[in-house]
């Protein structure tokens, strides 16, 4: 097992710049999520690491071996594809054993390793079946077993769970995390699902238009996004902009909002982001308080979803989204003007520019 380091990767497809000077370190044993909208370059980066694509410039190092000129089959990687890519002409056991046969292991060794790998993904009893006889979740596990049985240096997952339905996806997230912990393998996975990235990753990297926007732990990324895109892509955010003073921002309607001092960068923030779950709605104007921000908005819609309730409001023609626990906010009208407020420390100061 090994860490992976990519440095100054550039990749063009014709005139389109798919990767723009991307540098990233993946630590040994880390579960790293590459997150971004489609066309952001995340899959391109994964395929450059795998060796299916060669970068125009920049370096890829697995462990301490530079691999820019090493073909896929010699990179000692494991990969799980979006559609699993199980070999239809082979049994499950033969699928899992494929990489071991290529490595000329003995029959006995192959049988033992395959059994162990299938046991790890809890499919020990299905070795004789064919891929088309398995459910989506089972195929997913087989693909995973096949990718790790060769003890690769790094495991690459390309949107591994996107073909599963939602309930199964949550189960598989837990399962994937367990297996990754048990094997301890450096894992890089690509997803466009921010919740999946938050759940699985030790660290996340957000890509946009081929550029790396931000990397960090899920917690840091959620609470301290570096720009509006990061704030809106990882979780939801209400963004406020206005004239920035020393410790408060004056909005278009004349009201001011504050942020906690400890968040303040050397430079004043360019915008304030507030997470939907940080805001409280009240029917009456709350008492002035220096550490509370308060705006007058009007309710447009209330969406009941069992444990949570979403309020869609409008403030100065700007949509505002608020998420509350069911039963938490009482006496809120279904329509009309209300007050929205949140404590200053829940304001996320987004760096300017």
């Amino acid at each position: 097992m090994a860490g992976v380091r990519v440095a100054n990767i550039n990749k063009h497809f014709g005139a389109m710049k798919a990767l723009d000077d991307v540098s990233l370190d993946f630590a040994d044993g880390e579960f790293f999520g590459l997150l971004g909208p489609s066309g952001s370059g995340k899959t391109t980066l994964l395929r450059v690491i795998a060796g299916f694509l060669f970068a125009d410039s920049g370096s890829v190092v697995i462990g301490d071996q530079p691999v820019e000129r090493v073909p896929v089959e010699k990179r000692e990687i494991g990969m799980v594809f979006q559609n699993y890519a199980l070999f239809p002409n082979m049994s499950i056991a033969d699928n899992v054993g494929f990489g071991l046969r290529v490595r000329k292991q003995s029959r006995a060794e192959i049988a033992r390793n395959v059994a162990q790998a299938l046991e790890l993904v809890q499919l020990g009893h299905l070795g004789e079946r064919r891929p088309h006889q398995l459910s989506g979740g089972q195929r997913q596990r087989v693909a995973l077993a096949r990718a790790i049985v060769t003890q690769p240096r790094v495991l690459l997952l390309d949107e591994p769970l996107s073909a599963l339905d939602k309930a199964l996806r949550v189960d598989m997230q837990i399962e994937l995390k367990r297996i990754q912990r048990e094997v301890g393998i450096t894992t890089i996975f690509v997803t466009h699902d921010q919740e999946e990235a938050l759940t699985l990753s030790d660290r996340i990297g957000i890509l946009k238009d081929g550029r790396l926007v931000q990397t960090g732990t899920p917690h840091d990324m959620y609470h301290a996004p570096v720009n509006e895109f990061a704030a809106g892509f990882l979780g939801e955010a209400n963004i406020f902009k206005g004239a920035v003073g020393a410790s408060a921002m004056t909005l278009a309607d004349g009201s001011t909002i504050r942020w906690a001092d400890h968040q303040q960068d050397a430079r004043p923030p360019g915008a304030i982001a507030v997470r939907p779950e940080s805001v409280i709605v009240s029917a009456k104007r709350p008492d002035e308080h220096p550490h509370m921000n308060c705006l007058k908005a009007s309710i447009r819609q209330k969406i009941f979803a069992g444990p949570t309730v979403t309020y869609l409001l409008e403030w100065q023609d700007q949509p505002i989204k608020i998420l509350a626990k069911e039963g938490e906010m009482k006496d809120i009208p279904d329509a009309g003007d209300v007050w929205i407020n949140w404590p200053a420390e829940k304001s996320i100061a987004i760096p300017a520019g």
């Binding site: 896929v72 594809f81 979006q82 559609n83 890519a85 070999f87 002409n89 990489g99 096949r146 060769t150």
Partner: protein, 262 residues
């Protein structure tokens, strides 16, 4: 309702007419090969005499043998080259790919008479002349496009990620081809091989031009024999060929499902 039933009946009649059109002449020929009369006189008096005569006709037997081994050689060469070409077209992007692919179709469309003439002139100008090597080269050139088209059609259903998965597991290019790609397209290769065999075995024009006189393939010899005067021996050899090729077709249809999903 009544209209629908009428159309259905019409369809059945049409199918019957087509089948009769295709098979009655063959059936007549097969029956006549067992008739004693050389002049197709009825009623039929059963004999296997024509088959015995055929067995002693060295010219026809030699020609049949030539046809079989030339067709087999053509099949092996055309299927191997054609499959390799189809995989290359599928797997790689390279300069001139589209032009190469487009150039594959004219040989199917150009009349064989013209192809045959062109080949004869060409083979004489390079000093190869007539003979079995010229015939085989000619047949391979004619059969190759069929193999490529059939195998390519099968490859369209192949998921290229399977090759990527095999490579990520450490398989070399040859191992990927052998254990992942070829098993998937096997039915297409068999269908392509059948086409190649049929193109070669049926080939009259190109063989007529390129074979050495006196040492030719079956279609040429049959044609020459008919010109000299028709004998039921021709019926006999034709019947044998039809039985063999129909059995091959049935076997292939059962095994390969004509390139469709199994």
């Amino acid at each position: 309702m009544a209209m629908g039933r009428f159309l259905e009946r019409l369809g059945r009649v049409y199918l019957g007419v087509v089948l009769a059109f295709l098979y009655v002449p063959i059936l007549v020929m097969a029956v006549m090969s067992f008739n004693q009369s050389e002049f197709y006189q009825l009623p039929i008096r059963f004999t296997t005499g024509w088959y015995e005569k055929l067995w002693n006709n060295s010219e026809i037997l030699n020609a049949a043998w030539s046809s079989v081994w030339i067709a087999c050689t053509t099949t092996v060469i055309a299927t191997t080259l054609g499959t390799a070409a189809a995989i290359a077209f599928f797997r790689y992007e390279f300069r001139g790919k589209v032009i190469l692919q487009a150039l594959l179709f004219p040989p199917i469309a150009i009349p064989w008479l013209i192809t045959g003439t062109a080949m004869l002139i060409f083979f004489f100008s390079i000093g190869l002349g007539r003979g079995a090597p010229a015939v085989i080269i000619g047949h391979v050139a004619l059969a190759l496009p069929y193999v490529i088209v059939v195998v390519t059609a099968r490859l369209r259903t192949f998921d290229p990620q399977l090759e990527e998965a095999a490579r990520s597991l450490g398989a070399s290019s040859w191992e990927v081809t052998r254990s992942v790609t070829l098993p998937w397209i096997a039915s297409g290769i068999i269908a392509g091989a059948l086409f190649a065999f049929a193109v070669s075995f049926d080939q009259f024009v190109v063989s007529y031009f390129l074979a050495e006189p006196g040492d030719s393939t079956l279609p040429v010899v049959i044609y020459t024999a008919i010109r000299k005067g028709f004998t039921p021996e021709i019926n006999a050899i034709s019947t044998i060929i039809i039985v063999i090729s129909m059995s091959l077709m049935l076997l292939a249809a059962r095994y390969a499902n004509f390139g469709g999903e199994r």
